[in-house]
């Protein structure tokens, strides 16, 4: 344990305080055994522990008013193993996505994990997993639920548990590896994650196009989805009344040539001016610039059926004109960043999604907004599934409440 209560200047604590959570003490274990001691103590002394990584999706779960111990995982940040032949790796929960990809890029011919959530240099793999964060590349590669093969965790008493493994196909017992995704620290402390790893693609290109009409954008996206092209991600940003589309392609060099050409032809057909550029760095930067806000503020994630994405993004932008609204097209995921989002705005956003069976998920919001949010999951599901599980797995409430 490193900080022993010295909480000034610790990023995880600042992240919690920024959303209205008072922290009494912080622990930054560098080993699983240290984290175990923290949980054993918390369980004995009935303390509330809040697991936290880079703090980039701090409000995904329930934010208590007071936290006894912020259990900061960022010093548990090593690669435990990397099996380049079987394309998997085990990493400690506190390693950032950026650091993992830097490690992999320098190994042999170069490898990567296809996770690119916002703030990848701060977001830890444990946090991305617990918050179910994602980036544009989920279009081709899926999200954490498609990329994580196994997980090691500590339960509320500090006992080690391990689920999943190093193999892709695994139906041995309940799929706890999936179940903990999105649990936001309410059920256990994630200590390590086993990931799928991919070789670098043969070639990479980034294409873009700008559309001035929403109808044109929608028809373009529909045509792109109905085509044989296989973009790794497609991001749409609403900027000054126009719609800027960025698409990434990662494939065989000949396929890339075709995909870039067809993308630009399609864009032109619907009035979009476009361009294309080769190279992995260009793609990474284009996606990053598109999905991250210039200034840190508050944020929510909206998910809707794919075809509703452009209209809901537009409506969110109208509701919050100063916001940055970004659509992961093909997935129906919209990230909204603003300097302020009020409780009434949340009500409006929920109105937009309720009618299409979508969701609004807080990512970074003050706890006072969350307290007026209302039920976040179906009440039957909550009563007969979520709360009974919480009582079984964490009977004394060491971790924050489940939704």
């Amino acid at each position: 344990m490193t900080t022993n209560g010295l909480i000034k200047g610790v990023k995880s604590v600042e992240a919690l305080e920024s959303v209205g959570v008072r922290v009494k003490h912080v622990e930054q274990p560098s080993k699983e055994s240290e984290a175990k001691d923290v949980l054993a103590k918390a369980s004995r002394e009935k303390l509330v522990v809040f697991p936290v990584g880079g703090g980039t999706s701090i409000a995904t779960g329930v934010l208590p008013e007071n936290v006894d111990i912020a259990l900061d995982t960022t010093k548990m940040n090593a690669v435990a193993s990397f099996d380049s032949s079987n394309l998997n790796m085990t990493v400690q929960a506190g390693m950032t996505i950026g650091a993992i990809n830097e490690y992999l890029a320098g190994y042999g011919k170069g490898f990567r994990i296809p996770l690119d959530p916002p703030f990848s240099d701060q977001a830890t793999i444990g946090g991305v997993y617990a918050a179910n964060s994602s980036g544009p590349s989920r279009l081709r590669f899926g999200s954490v639920r498609d990329q994580v093969l196994g997980v090691q965790a500590l339960d509320a008493l500090g006992a080690e548990v391990k689920f999943g493994g190093r193999v892709v196909k695994n139906v041995s017992g309940y799929d706890m590896t999936k179940f903990f995704i999105g649990s936001a620290g309410s059920l256990c402390l994630i200590t390590s994650v086993i990931m799928r790893v991919y070789p670098m693609p043969g070639a990479t290109a980034v294409c873009d196009g700008t559309f001035t009409k929403l109808d044109d954008l929608e028809r373009f996206l529909e045509t792109l989805r109905g085509s044989f092209l296989l973009p790794s991600g497609v991001v749409v940003e609403s900027v000054n009344g126009a719609y800027h589309v960025i698409a990434g392609f990662e494939d065989h060099p000949l396929a890339i040539l075709r995909e870039s050409r067809d993308f630009l032809d399609m864009a032109r057909k619907y009035g979009g001016n476009g361009s294309s550029k080769d190279g992995r760095q260009a793609l990474r930067e284009a996606f990053r610039n598109a999905i991250e806000p210039v200034e840190e503020g508050v944020s929510v994630k909206i998910t809707v059926p794919i075809s509703k994405g452009p209209r809901v993004m537009e409506a969110a932008k109208k509701l919050l004109p100063q916001s940055k609204a970004v659509l992961y097209a093909g997935n129906g995921v919209i990230c909204v960043y603003a300097s302020r989002i009020a409780a009434d705005d949340i009500k409006e956003l929920k109105g937009l999604t309720d009618s299409v069976n979508g969701y609004v998920v807080p990512v970074r919001l003050h706890r006072t907004i969350l307290s007026s949010w209302g039920p976040r999951v179906d009440q039957t599901l909550n009563k007969y599934v979520l709360q009974p599980i919480k009582r079984q797995l964490d009977p004394s409430g060491v971790f924050p409440p489940v939704l």
């Binding site: 080690e160 493994g165 193999v167 017992g173 995704i181 009582r391």
Partner: protein, 462 residues
């Protein structure tokens, strides 16, 4: 089964939709695994409301039950224990919505996997999980078992393609988990439900992700003198950065059985054949296939055959899809093992299977999803010989232990059911199993929902 319960079931589902005579019940007392059970009653509901009412009656009376589709389960997961009720969902078999604009379909659980595939193919779409049993296995069963199939190498298993479900919980309440939209708030309950082998509830509507059919599909068969060389080829193709849609290996025992049965055109003197399929954009595919052929030759392939058209492609696949059935020509019965190892450990796993085959004097053929490291050793035997049956069970367990020891697991796609309960200790600690038991207790506190499956009793875990 108590006559009052039977009458209640008849009121709910209709008189003709309840079976209770011994001869009828026999049919529902086994599945494709080795274990046998005993059904007390079989009910055929026609919608979610009926399922909920049936479950409520059973819950209130403390009676166990199991939801069942076509009964293709290979580990005893769908057989009723102790006279439990079978809730047979095969009449709930409609496609409720085909929402191409949002790349989703909503189906009832009793629909066959292949029926859905055929309906989607007409629209230019497909649903990726394609278990070998797809002609008759139901989507509800696929969800319960988290089914895979050859194409899961590139596209993932059922849990990667099922996004939501209407579920009847063990107390008879109906709820929705997930939807057509991604990322429902909170823990991934849908992820927990898929592969829970019917122990946490009964899915009555299922939301599936569908995908556009690829522009081009190319299939080839590579022939090897040594099975190890075929395994090495699989690792080398993936290491080269190519992820084919499928990489399937069959050994000589299976090749001979298949040829005698369906005449797929496999060379019967080959020690192994490898089916390789690429899909995606036309551009670059010939170059990738050329590279794959180079790798095959480098690794010792003696020949290869490229399917020229859809007929030839179907022919190559026909052998693989009928492999399990074909081995029945060799011996009257077989046990399909289902272990997974890291891909590069396949040669060691095959050596272990060979040694176990010798140790127990049993004929074992090998079919495997090689790209996933998912082995299906087929232990062939005569189930009328109790001594041989006992050896088969021991051999099956030892094969799974070998997979676990090589860094793999005891089930890739067939589940735990009853057959592998005592093998769970090969991969889980008491703490792991206790946590899973906690999940089961939370959702099914009376322990009625497919009870006795997936989670070992406390004494078995040690």
């Amino acid at each position: 089964m108590d006559a009052k319960i039977r009458e209640k079931m008849q009121q709910i589902a209709g008189k003709d939709n309840v079976l209770w005579k011994d001869t009828d019940l026999q049919v529902y007392s086994y599945d494709a695994g080795l274990d046998k059970g005993k059904a007390g009653l079989v009910v055929f509901p026609s919608d979610a409301q009926q399922v909920a009412e049936i479950v409520k009656v059973l819950y209130e009376n403390g009676l166990s039950y199991v939801a069942r589709g076509s009964g293709t389960n290979l580990t005893g997961g769908t057989i009723p224990l102790n006279g439990g009720t079978v809730i047979e969902i095969s009449r709930m078999n409609r496609i409720l919505e085909m929402d191409l604009a949002n790349e989703r379909v909503i189906v009832e659980p009793g629909i066959f996997n292949l029926t859905l595939q055929n309906a989607l193919a007409e629209k230019g779409y497909y649903y990726a999980p394609d278990p070998a049993s797809q002609k008759v296995s139901t989507l509800g069963g696929n969800v319960g078992e988290n089914s895979g199939g050859p194409h899961c190498l590139k596209y993932g298993v059922t849990s990667n393609h099922v996004l939501g479900a209407e579920v009847v919980l063990p107390n008879g309440e109906i709820t929705w988990i997930g939807s057509k939209s991604l990322d429902a708030p909170g823990p991934d309950i849908m992820g927990l439900l898929v592969g829970s082998e019917g122990t946490l509830g009964i899915a009555t509507k299922i939301v599936c992700r569908i995908m556009r059919q690829p522009e081009r599909v190319v299939t080839m068969l590579a022939v090897f003198k040594e099975i190890e060389a075929a395994g090495q080829t699989v690792s080398d193709i993936i290491a080269d950065g190519i992820i084919p849609a499928t990489l399937e290996i069959m050994d000589n025992v299976v090749i001979r059985a298949v040829e005698a049965s369906v005449h797929a055109g496999y060379p019967i003197d080959a020690e192994a054949v490898l089916i390789i399929e690429l899909d995606g954009l036309t551009d670059g595919m010939d170059e990738q296939m050329k590279r794959i052929v180079e790798i095959c030759e480098q690794d010792g392939a003696v020949s290869h055959r490229m399917a020229k058209d859809a007929n030839e492609r179907n022919e190559l696949w026909m052998g693989r899809r009928n492999a399990f059935g074909a081995v029945a020509r060799v011996r009257p019965a077989y046990l399909v093992c289902d272990g997974t190892v890291p891909r590069t450990e396949l040669p060691k796993a095959l050596a272990a299977v060979k040694a176990i085959s010798k140790k127990y004097n049993l004929a074992i053929g090998n079919v495997f999803h090689a790209g996933d490291g998912n082995l299906h050793p087929l232990i062939m035997f005569d189930d009328r010989d109790p001594d041989e049956l006992a050896r088969v069970q021991k051999a099956g367990s030892e094969i799974l232990k070998a997979c676990a020891d090589l860094g793999g697991t005891i089930s890739g796609e067939h589940g735990i059911g009853i057959e592998k309960l005592s093998d769970m200790k090969f991969i889980f600690t008491d703490a792991d199993i206790n946590m899973m038991r906690g999940i089961s207790l939370a959702i099914d506190p009376k322990g009625l929902c497919n009870t006795g499956k997936l989670i070992p009793r406390k004494e078995m875990a040690n």
